[in-house]
Amino acid sequence: MAEQKNSYYTQGLSVPETPAPGEEPAFWKQTHVVGKRLPRVDAYERVSGAAVYPSDITLPNMIYGAVLRCPHPHANVTKVDVSRAKKMPGVRAVITGQTPEAKKLKWKYNDYSGPLFDTHCRFEGEAVAAVAADTHFQAWDAVRAIDVAYEVLPFVADHNKALSDDAPDIHDSGNLVGTDEYERGDVARGFDAADVVLEQEYHTQSELHTPMELHGCVAGWDKDRLTLWESTQGVYAVQSEIAEILNLPLSKVRVIGHYMGGGFGSKLKPGKYTVLAALLARQSGRPVKLILTREETYLCTGNRPASTMHLKAGVKKDGTLTACDFTCTGPSGAYPAGGTALVDWQIRDLYACDNVRCASKDVYINAGPARPFRAPGHPQASWALEQMMDDLADKIGMDPVALRLKNIPEISQGRNQPYTTTGLKQCIEKGAEQFGWKKAVERAKAHNQTDTHIKRGVGMGACVWFVGGGGPPSTVIIKLFRDGSVNLNMGASDIGTGTKTVMAMVAAEELGVAPEVIQIEHADTETTQYATPSGGSKTVPTESPTVRNAAIAVKRQLLEMASEDLNVPASDLDYEGAQIISRNDKNKRIKVTDVSRLKKRGVVVGVGYRGPNPPKKSVNPFAAQFCELAVNTKTGEMQILRFLSANDSGRVLDRLTYDNQVFGGIVMGIGFGMTEFRQLDARQTGRLCNRNWHDYKLPTALDVPVDMESLPIEIDDPEANNTGTKGLGEPVTIPTAAAIANALFMATGIRFTRAPVNPIEMRRHLTAKKEG
């Protein structure tokens, strides 16, 4: 229960309660549909072009919006003259901070609230004005015709300088957003008890989400009722925020998000663009499509904050960790946005250690505010911790896998309570076995002895994910029609993880029907039930037990109905596939579609609610990843040869989409570790240097290994929830970069403490090493 209320993916939302679900069904011992490899239920739509994404919407009379953004990292707007823009061809609406409808509106960043258009622009890309015109091109012509004057202010773009005396104050309160401290045991005593103590500084760079579908929406009014087609991870999150900002009743804000082209945390909530689209639509009296340009998404739709971390760790000769002391500084950006959120969780929770101290500092810089990004904070600390583990192992002459296995915690130390299940040990052990760890290490080391400039390395890393157990609220409605076909109604978005598919499989499992006869209606605040946004790797463990409860509610009614046909009390009846059978007399059976009252009524409706999580227990997924790579020590080029990810995410619902998610996480981790970084011109202009996919490089088809393997570690977890599922989408990307760094160390003898390691960085280090 508590989980959903405290989590970043619901931060600031008033999350409603869910009624108790009633008796929870028994854990599945055997499944017939669940666990198979099934193609997606919406695959046809997605590959045929039939799927309509928000950016695909065109409505009668629709016009196009565009936003004028501040080109400076820090400036005061002193003049906005829109007179020329208003007269431009096709222009139908222009909005600035002086427009009456916009003047009173507020925009929030976590607990900070300020004007929608703040004349004090604290980051490059802050909205200054917005226009709508008949075509996209005309809208941009008009944006360029707006005359704005700025008083340019001094800026700070480097989070390590944000708190220095000569840094300009971004907010009146100064540049410290907040601090977070944690301590257990006695770190000093822990270090005294250690045989080896190491310390190291680590850096990771800001990573940008850049989902393939641009951020944006189409907004249209019917008198006082607003409809938004928004590219979002959560329609209800958009609804509640927009209703609050525009002071509208919830019932008058309809948000539709059937399809969406990726979010990775950056679309958990509406954007300022959503409000602007609504205002432009109201002013023009027409629906407005406001889709950001790629460049804008680099500036103002969030990021994974950079980090400067320091880790000191002690270990005994036998491999026992005695102490960890961790600090981190990270930037929220120009507004409070979780610059160091969850960054220390790996340190607190992953490996057994009695003495732990963590301190983090979240600071303001003049850059776009962060947004949660796939496992917020986790890949950063993993980069530090997993490399430190390898260094400690090296110093005490222990195998890195063995060192980690030596330090498997029995309980969640961060929460001081047991896990429902932990597969950390199995992930590491079975993963290493399947990967052929020992042989691979020997092979690589032998290879590196030979006279070759191509060096090889293998490396690994493990992780725990902070949440991933899901929880209430969630409501799902299932309708079973007289012909046995089924409607499943849920508010959750399918952000590409296969949510619809696995929910159809759960319903099919329970109702004994084929997944193909299930039609899903979802992600529409007017026609589907409340759901929290799809984030935090919680959609499967939140929604799948709810779907199961809804299916069971249908079945209960059907048993009652069938008892009339069979003349047997409902309590003696059982479901078997799509039949209802008497437990005492197997000859008394009836096909569901033959039940007379179902035929008469035409439909049975079942409502399912998500039950609470087990009290005083923590539900978390775990993973371990292994990689093998080659480095050309002449050119600095690197090639990842293979990757294996062993994941404990509870029960696998669809093996096909499961593996896909695992591979995708590895690819994103490769980006974090090897290709992606936001480059601000911190010395001269403070502006973003790489604001497109040409200059900011994502992993392409040529950067990923063909050989990727997914190894599910399925441990029965009936306590977690009635489907025994835990989240997957985030743990799959946490230890990837660190595993790469560890492999690079084996290949080159160089510790890469700065992510990402691209060929230029590699070359630089190789040269430095050669020159001593």
């Binding site: 990726g262 952000i495 896909n660 994103m668 992993p699």
Partner: protein, 211 residues
């Protein structure tokens, strides 16, 4: 000016991309891209708005998925914009509008091209195939079926472009090696990271097509 200049000069410059063209002409010539070098030469150094107002549209004929269409376009409109926003063929996606992601990939005379880097006026007299054009009525084509079977996507937004690239590859190279497949889709980013399944789908599609 406008309609009378909407001859086929643009189409004759086949293979020229918007980026290449803009580079060749200097950015001042964007508005005059309608009929290329000849036009710019005849107007000397006049600023673009003198040559062609933003309000002027030209009528062009596009040959899309086997059917002819006449559309009124501004000369600066990209093929991507016309496909998606004017004609309503939204299978072709927009990821960047600057030739970086491949979400907008269509086949122009059988060759995968970025529709965002192609002006609509340039695409006249070419055979354009979009994702919708790979359908056989309501049935999926072989590459599409392979993508379904191998789960070669997550959010599905890069998928139309990936499918068009694989389709284009297989037309030219029916039995591609793994390297050829990877190079074939290397102009198509997938932020969800579904690459491995895309490789599998390309293999699967090749087998289907050969059968």
């Amino acid at each position: 000016m406008g309609a009378q200049n909407s001859d086929n000069n643009a189409a004759k410059r086949e293979g020229m991309t918007r980026r290449g063209f803009i580079q060749a002409m200097g950015t001042g010539a964007v508005g005059a891209s309608l009929s290329g070098a000849a036009l710019a030469a005849s107007h000397g150094n006049e600023p673009p708005e003198k040559i062609l107002s933003a309000k002027d549209t030209v009528k062009i004929h596009l040959h899309i998925n086997g059917a002819d269409r006449a559309v009124l376009v501004e000369p600066r409109w990209t093929l991507l914009y016309v496909l998606r926003e004017v004609i309503g063929l939204t299978g072709t996606k927009e990821g960047c509008s600057r030739g970086e992601c491949g979400a907008c990939t269509v086949l122009v005379d059988g060759i995968p091209r970025y529709a965002c880097m192609t002006l609509a006026v340039e695409a006249q007299n070419c055979h354009i195939t979009t994702l919708e054009g790979l359908m056989q009525g309501e049935e999926l084509g072989p590459v599409q079926t392979a993508f379904v079977e191998e789960d070669a996507f997550q959010c599905g937004y890069c998928t139309p472009g990936q499918i068009m690239s694989v389709h284009g590859l297989l037309e030219k190279t029916p039995r591609p090696s793994m390297d050829e497949i990877r190079i074939g889709v290397s102009g198509n980013l997938c932020r969800c990271g579904a690459y491995n399944n895309i490789f599998r789908a390309a293999r699967n599609a090749a087998e289907r097509k050969i059968k």
